[in-house]
Amino acid sequence: MKSSSSQSRYVKVYKEGNHIGRKVNLFAFNNYESLVAALSHMFDTTIRLDGDGNSSVSRNHHTLKYLDKDGYWMVAGDISWNNFLSRAQRLSINSPRNP
């Protein structure tokens, strides 16, 4: 069991339609923007945070959601980055039509 001072927090990331997932270290990023940029590059797509509710604009992009400690899939971006670090167990990249 890693100590609380561990410098890494790896979580699995799956993109809709891909059976093979990746792993990212959430501690390597300082905010949502840098994480989304890295994932967009890693999965060769455009991921848009839906935190501001502009769902109609994001239909051409992918969205990011996370599995929280309670077992719920939640839209990434609503809570502060630091809270996201402690709560996110897994990430998923989906199209808005199939979140």
């Binding site: 509710g53 769902s55 109609s56 959601k65 309670d70 719920y72 899939w73 939640m74 839209v75 609503d78 809570i79 502060s80 980055w81 630091n82 809270n83 402690s86 808005p96 979140p99």
Partner: protein
Amino acid sequence: MDSDPHGVFPSSPKYHPYYPQNTECGGVIDLGLSLRTIQHEIYHTSGQKYCSNEGYRRKWGYVKVTMDGFVVGRKVCVLDHGGYSTLAHQLEDMFEMQSVSGLRLFQMESEFCLVYRDEEGIWRNAGDVPWNEFIESVERLRITRRNDVTLPF
């Protein structure tokens, strides 16, 4: 038995309405003997948000919102809102793609209704109690279809 593990109530020794709970933010000792208003928001490194208005006891303003039939949830900060109408507006933005005619929460003709789970674990209809009372007790929100409400009240 600690019935107030999160120190929400004033009688709890852990209750500190205006000052941070950890020592990183300064060694201020508050005996809680006077009312004080701190007109700024304090953000912990953990991301907790304190409301700038006096009298609010809750420390963590974010509650989870789910909508029946929709697998992904959202989080809203109830302390960001001044009343039910702005909360309904934000929820409309967040879940608009899940309905054809809009959620129209709190409207009589709407097929959707907003329920919440309070600090006692009881599910209630949102809008019945005054807003200030609501935000101090709400723990979880859920958007249901009016015809499908089968929650025990």
